[in-house]
């Protein structure tokens, strides 16, 4: 008999999640977490500008940051890693992020059921009271790995 798995640890999982793929390319880093929330950091990158004539971060990486923080907040709240898929994600942009500043994405999973998880969060560049963006999303659990379902 194997011992029960320890609860999902976002700090530990980050080492795996962020060493490859889209998150790895963005350079996402673990920042902090609580019982039902996770905060990740998107470091400043000169090549992720949104407009040629304005030295500001594109909004796309902020969506990726918040999407990733959403998933990790769900696993943290559930205490277990289960395959999930983003159903709906809304981001409201309040202001541009400050130039050369890292952006932090803090998302809480405020409610989950067997099939759905509800998240809300913010992106900020140092002061959580003055967000760059706010977001809300709904994720669904995937009963089976879709890659296996094809076979």
């Amino acid at each position: 008999m194997s011992a029960p798995l320890p609860p999902f640890d976002p700090q530990q999982a980050a080492q795996f999640f962020f060493n490859h793929g889209h998150s790895g390319w963005l350079g996402l880093r673990y920042a902090s977490h609580g019982a039902d929330w996770v905060e990740l950091e998107l470091p400043w990158r000169e090549d992720l500008l949104g407009e040629e004539d304005r030295h500001m971060l594109a909004s796309g990486p902020i969506i990726s940051l918040l999407d990733m923080a959403s998933g990790m907040s769900i696993w943290t709240a559930r205490k277990v890693f289960t395959p999930i898929a983003t159903l709906d994600l809304r981001v409201d942009y309040q202001r541009p992020a400050r130039e050369r500043s890292a952006v932090l994405g803090r998302v809480e999973c405020y409610r989950f059921t067997r099939s759905a998880a509800f998240v809300r969060g913010i992106a900020h560049d140092g002061d959580a009271g003055d967000p760059v963006a706010t977001m809300a999303g709904v994720f669904m659990t995937i009963a089976r790995d879709p890659r296996l379902a094809q076979q």
Binding site: H22, G50, S59
Partner: protein
């Protein structure tokens, strides 16, 4: 129809870094594409939702730029919001996206975007964006 130089300018540094390129102009609207690579990979063998969102958003801006250019306008575009619906997993194959300007006002544009893989009639994700158009100073 915008020439290649103009269509190239619809792509931001972020979009080019993600691997997004112009695929075609369809009825005045740019069709963008991105190939599958580690840069866009989330779950193994599938697109990351953030990468799909980045493609949708880029296609939204590209369509708006094309339309504004045709009207002789060149404002700064500022994102107000985006709502993305993920309809099915993006598999490890090229993904396309194109947008329709639902309403073009003086200050606000409302844009609908669709992303698909094999069949344009079966989108893998859609988005609605509100974009603020700010006249450039001077």
């Amino acid at each position: 129809m915008p020439n290649n130089d103009a269509t190239g300018s619809y792509l931001t540094a972020y979009a080019r870094a993600l691997g997004i390129s112009m695929h075609a102009i369809d009825d005045g609207a740019p069709v963008l594409t991105v190939g599958f690579s580690p840069v866009v990979e989330g779950r193994p063998g599938a697109f990351h939702g953030g990468a799909t969102s980045g493609l949708l958003e880029t296609a939204g801006y590209a369509a708006l730029r094309a339309r504004l250019e045709a009207e002789g306008r060149w404002p700064q575009l500022k994102p107000i919001n985006i709502t993305v619906q993920f309809l099915s997993a993006g598999k490890n194959k090229p993904t396309f996206a194109s947008a329709r300007i639902t309403r073009l006002g003086r200050r606000i544009a409302n844009v609908s975007v669709e992303a698909w893989q094999d069949d344009r009639g079966r989108p893998i994700a859609t988005a609605v964006m509100n974009i603020l158009m700010a006249e450039r100073p001077g």
